[in-house]
Symmetry: C2
Subunit: 119 residues, 2 copies
DNA sequence: TAGTTGTTCACCTTTGTAGAACATATTCAT
DNA sequence: ATGAATATGTTCTACAAAGGTGAACAACTA
């Protein structure tokens, strides 16, 4: 694709934005990734993915609550756009479609192979 | 991930290898991608993805049939390894898990938003 | 040799990764 | 009240890995 599809990490980040709702910002997304997958994600990685997603129109952001009793800089809250949602669904449907076409026997053969190797 | 996870395109290529069975080689994979998704894929892109996948141990390859009535160079046939299968399943399960956690209402709100925009 | 079918190669752009530097808010001692 | 300490987040800079292209090259048949 010429510069505006959904990368692997970008897709995970985008899904996190969706599931975190209005508590989606850099650090919370980083933490969510840590919890949900085993993978680590540096804070800079998350933000650069978010910036790219915004440039592509898949998320939008606004600066958070005017004030809290929290201390520290204001949050930048992200949300998924309609276009971002569409991209997620396209990606999901393609993969589902491919999975459904994998021949049963081929897959089972691999499973057997796996058992042999691990014994 | 530090150098051995499954990229977005790599995952698609890997799925294609699985569903093409013993007819999985560079050009057939390229054609399959063209058919199954709307996306175009240059032949070089496919091969470099395949090479990366092989380096990571997710596919293995052997040179094809000694001869045919076909004319042209021999095919390099790829197949998914047990490790590749595991990687595909991990990736699939993470995404399914994330999708299941997205709040219904949030998603429906986006759907509504989409309808408004397209009218 | 010419025609066919595939893979390699050289090169460039986009994504992924990391963490230090910087910014901005609250709180507490003076 | 004020400014240093503490807390919380985002930007910035640099580099590694993945994605992408097409021409060059290889190897087979007729």
């Amino acid at each position: 694709m010429k510069g505006s599809y959904l990368g692997e990490f970008e897709e995970i980040v985008l899904l996190m934005v969706a599931l975190l709702g209005d508590e989606a910002y850099g650090l919370s997304i980083r933490d969510a990734i840590l919890e949900q997958s085993q993978r680590t994600a540096a804070i800079g990685a998350v933000h650069s993915a978010l910036n790219r997603l915004e440039k592509k129109g898949f998320v939008e952001s606004k600066m958070g609550d005017a004030t809290g009793d929290r201390g520290g800089r204001r949050k930048r809250i992200f949300s998924v756009t309609a276009s971002g949602k569409a991209a997620l669904e396209r990606s999901r449907e393609l993969r589902n479609s491919l999975w459904n076409q994998i021949p049963e026997l081929y897959w089972k053969g691999l499973k057997l192979q796996g058992l042999l190797w691990s014994s």
